[in-house]
Symmetry: C2
Subunit: 339 residues, 2 copies
DNA sequence: ATCCCATTTGTTAGCGCTCACTTCGCGACT
DNA sequence: AGTCGCGAAGTGAGCGCTAACAAATGGGAT
């Protein structure tokens, strides 16, 4: 018969016994409690790695009521934007000593987001980040469990919860203004799908820039963020080549589709039509031509959202909700030219 | 004084009291235990949502020793490949009723991966998926905590742990063979960074195809997966234009960089040089020209890895480790032409 | 020497749940 | 009637940890 000592993982009591102290002292060592004699500490430490002991954070969470885990609800983390945001969130959380539990939704609607939040709450997360780019999803934040710290990313909707986002309106304004300054009479827009807050913000900024300059607001085409939808829009636009000289596309992927459609139709960019994208994905710089675009600092958004969330958690609720805005950045490349 | 009843979240005992049963009966209802009278069940259910009760999974995990949480260790989840794989993992895990806790590493080395695994183990995950594309990272799997179910994704290295991956060698062979069949004398290769298992597999497949056809193996350039590194390689290749007629690039992003460099240098694709990429990112279809490439089904890899992991977990260890391979798929588009 | 107080360590209870067991009630069968 | 058996419910212990308090120890001030 082999000793059953190492059959199951060692617990604090095992360490205590080996070190000749009480389990509480072991706990104190593990939690860096000041009042432990150095000699005792090293004895405990030695016992810990002699046994290969790892503390059980589940048991700890049960008594402290803090799991040091944050929940993240997101949508299609395959896309560059959400993926980068979640990455930023995860890095910032880990730097602050928190774990991240992720739920990524296939379809994003109020019920789905609610379910996800519910699971996360059961699991005992200390706070939740909802990457809620759609209006319908953002509404789910209204029925958050009472007292659950939370922050919305790209999903501000006048609710009772803090939000962090890139200033979409400003970004779009930057894009449209650039085109106008280049001497274009007006600027067309390929927007993102309806119901997306980002799409709405970009439309608003685009409109504002045109209105401010006293220019006519041309028709608007709507895509779904995919290169294919941009391609389709590009084909339509190419058909009315003479009229269109400048296009602001709501994201870089659609801009790529547009570029492809224009290439096929023999429309020269930027000679005949100038294009500005949005996002600045790593590929944009190497499109043909390299894409002028608006950079969103997704990493910063992720980090800021964790800042806000942790402040809420660590101050024990009661904080007023805040709204943080990260500025977009204009990136000039080769897809735009003077008229 | 307000009643302190709703001061802190209700627990099972509160539900039991309200429903006039014991806490154990509430537990039975929650766990779908068969021996509960229908009438009792509904009474408990009513009490549950009257109080807005949610069970505390932390307490449950403490006693069952199962958290129904899986750990994922990954590297740069900003990239399309890892992001898609993690997405597939998360979906499959959730469908099976598991949560996913993610740690994404900035730099990937043995120590980093080990730390991550350690944290996850403390946190009480039931199993771990390591997306370990680098040789050094994969080695960390050798010192996994005893008895911890685990699976490596894209990180097979002869170890004692199960692995799931796309058949890189076969994919590369497909790419090179296609080019050879088109009548090219030989095929150049822009590889991924050294130490990456995928890069090695692709080199191996490329070499194998050339060798099998009795062709000379030309020099090889090395990139770092980024479009920029592909761009640099493209400039080099363009300088020796006459010699090079076919290039197999280790991923689509670098292929984009190559395309850009060739465009700048006036090298026509596919007329002068044919290019095959690897991955089939969503953008590839809209490159100019659309990229012929090898598709990796990242979602399938994620799902399969969860299958393997759950089988290990639910059978209570003792399973032999397995090695699953997902076939790559050749995608013909416009960047290749007959010589 | 005496007392006091700060430092270090030990003891006990209990977080919210599930598991193993016990108890209860009721119909079926001798 | 008696009792066996089974479904439905309850009881108590304990998972591994931390919080709160209690106890022991050892200087300095008196």
């Amino acid at each position: 018969m082999r000793p059953n000592v190492d059959r199951r993982p060692p617990v604090m009591a095992d360490v205590a016994r080996l070190a000749g102290v009480s389990h509480q002292t072991v706990s104190r060592v593990l939690n860096d409690h000041p009042n432990v004699r150095a000699e005792t500490r090293t004895r405990v430490m030695r016992a810990i790695d002699q046994l290969g002991y790892r503390r059980n954070l589940v048991a700890r969470a049960l008594v402290t009521k803090h799991s040091r885990t944050l929940g993240v609800v997101s949508f299609d983390t395959t896309l560059y934007g959400p993926a980068s945001t979640v990455y930023g969130i995860e890095q910032a959380a880990r730097d602050a000593g928190y774990f991240v539990s992720i739920v990524s939704l296939r379809t994003i609607d109020r019920a789905g987001v609610n379910d996800a939040i519910g699971y996360l709450a059961e699991q005992g997360v200390d706070g939740i980040v909802v990457v809620a780019p759609q209006r319908s999803a953002a509404r789910a934040l209204d029925d958050l469990p009472a007292g659950m710290p939370a922050v919305a990313v790209e999903g501000w909707h006048q609710g009772e919860v803090s939000a962090v986002s890139v200033d979409q309106v400003e970004g779009a304004r930057l894009a449209a203004s650039h085109l106008l300054e280049l001497g274009h009479e007006t600027v067309w827009h390929i927007s993102g799908p309806a119901d997306w807050l980002e799409a709405e913000g970009r439309i608003e900024g685009w409109r504002a820039a045109l209105t401010a300059a006293g220019r006519p607001i041309p028709g608007m085409l709507t895509g779904d963020w995919s290169p294919r939808s941009g391609y389709r829009a590009g084909k339509e636009l190419a058909a009315m080549a003479g009229d269109v000289t400048a296009v602001f596309v709501a994201n870089d992927q659609m801009a790529l589709g547009l570029l492809r459609a224009f290439t096929e139709e023999g429309v020269k960019v930027p000679e005949q039509i100038s294009i500005v994208g949005f996002d600045d994905i790593p590929e944009s710089e190497f499109f043909s031509p390299p894409l002028t675009t608006i950079r969103q600092d997704f990493g910063a958004v992720g980090r800021r959202s964790i800042d806000v969330l942790l402040r809420q958690i660590e101050s024990g609720e009661g904080l007023p909700h805040e709204r943080l805005v990260v500025p977009p950045q204009f990136v000039l490349r080769g897809s735009t030219a003077a008229r």
